[in-house]
């Protein structure tokens, strides 16, 4: 009985494989996760992806700008984001995601951690580009 219930409760199979707007795996490397902190410089609240930019300071104090790609605004809004409220220039945030294959300072953002510890989903999980 327990086994049957566990199986039945756990089964909700979807036959559908989902990709983001573009193939994640062609542009980003799921084997290169990164967590990086910096200060928000600007936000592009646009389709088909939000982009935002952080000034990131390394150990020597050198500042480099990093670019992050995330969900489109419609998906962000449905997950609790608000334009010009949630992510503001000047805010220190930490972003977890995956690095791009060729652009050295580009990241597919998965989750943003805000100064008060709140975390919001910013983009899809890593994809494989199909089977």
């Amino acid at each position: 009985m327990t086994v049957i219930r566990a199986l039945a409760c756990g089964l909700l199979l979807s036959t559908v494989s989902l990709a983001a707007h573009h193939s994640f795996a062609a542009q980003y490397d799921a084997d290169k996760p990164i967590t990086i902190s910096g200060t928000v410089v600007r936000v592009e609240w646009t389709n088909p992806h939000m982009h935002f930019y952080l000034d990131v300071k390394d150990e020597r104090g050198t500042v480099t700008q990093w670019a992050f790609e995330g969900y489109p605004p419609n998906m962000l809004v449905r997950q609790g984001w608000k334009r010009e409220v949630t992510l503001k220039p000047g805010t220190a945030v930490t972003v977890a995601g995956w690095r791009a294959r060729i652009e050295p300072n580009l990241v597919a953002a998965r989750e943003v951690t805000f100064p008060d510890g709140r975390k919001l989903t910013a983009g899809p999980p890593a994809g494989t580009g199909g089977q």
Binding site: A8, C9, L12, T15, V16, S23, Q27, N47, A100, G130
Partner: protein, 271 residues
């Protein structure tokens, strides 16, 4: 009540009896009646999202709630997806796109996804049921389908298109949509699921509970398949949700990035 529904009801009762703990929380929602239009047919009107898109659109908690709902309602889960029954030649084409990790996805260029792929996107769609026609409004790509249900046939001047031409009829309580007149520029579901202009899609929409539509789709294409390809999904009602604007090409930086990647394929291709 036809056999189909009798079997479903019997299965529902058996599962509900076997899973009392799962069933209690959602029993009220599951018991809500399917609304009917003036002609007595189920009314499919509402804003819907594919179950497979719930995790991306709404998070894990909503997916778990959907699981609980299905158990309470005695809904069987959709069967596992079959692989596309491609001919060897079509399978090679699919493998080519898989090896390129989907970089050739037409959607990345903001082209309209076809049927059924557009229904599986993580943005909702709205069905507006009217006498004689159904209107499908997809947030993805701002796309729409106007589907006659008054018995008319496909027009005789169809130009191949991304979403094809749809006409529908009722089979009992199930809306059956016949779609033809496709171009060959879309992928059917996942990466590299190619097809030809000979594609014919049959969709079955069965509002089996107030909150769900059981969606069964059959794809036939003699140029790429050795037999029809079938898959199934559940669309979930999204009360309070509305269709928003989505202008894909607005700031599609991916186009430039894809061009850069294509100059050095070894960077992204599978070894």
């Amino acid at each position: 009540m036809n056999n189909h529904h009798t079997i479903r009801l019997t299965a529902a009762l058996l599962i509900a009896a076997a899973l009392p703990l799962c069933a209690i929380a959602q029993s009220n929602a599951a018991a809500k009646q399917v609304p009917r239009a003036a002609d007595g047919k189920p009314d499919l009107s509402g804003v819907w999202i594919a179950t497979g898109a719930l995790r991306l659109m709404a998070g894990e908690a909503e997916l778990a709630a959907a699981r609980q709902f299905d158990i309470a309602a005695g809904r069987a889960p959709a069967p596992p997806a079959e692989p596309p029954p491609y001919t060897p030649e079509a399978d090679k084409r699919r493998q080519y796109y898989l090896d390129r990790r989907g970089i050739d996805d037409p959607m990345a260029r903001c082209l309209i996804s076809g049927v059924p792929r557009i229904s599986f996107r993580p943005l909702p769609f709205q069905i507006v049921q009217m006498p004689g026609q159904m209107i499908f409004l997809y947030e993805t790509h701002h796309a729409f389908r106007i589907i006659p249900t008054d018995g008319r046939a496909h027009p005789d001047d169809i130009e191949p298109s991304y979403l094809g031409d749809s006409v529908a009829r009722w089979d009992g309580d199930t809306l059956v949509v016949d779609v033809t007149g496709f171009n060959d520029k879309t992928w059917l579901i996942g990466v590299g699921t190619v097809h030809s202009e000979k594609l014919r899609v049959t969709e079955r929409y069965d509002r089996d509970t107030y909150s769900t539509i059981r969606y069964q789709v059959t794809m036939e294409d003699p140029e790429v398949f050795t037999k029809p390809w079938r898959t199934e999904e559940t669309f979930r009602l999204r009360p309070g949700e509305r269709i928003r604007e989505y202008e894909c090409i607005e700031n599609n930086e991916d186009l430039l990035r894809i061009e850069r990647l294509l100059q050095n394929e070894s960077v992204f291709k599978r070894p």
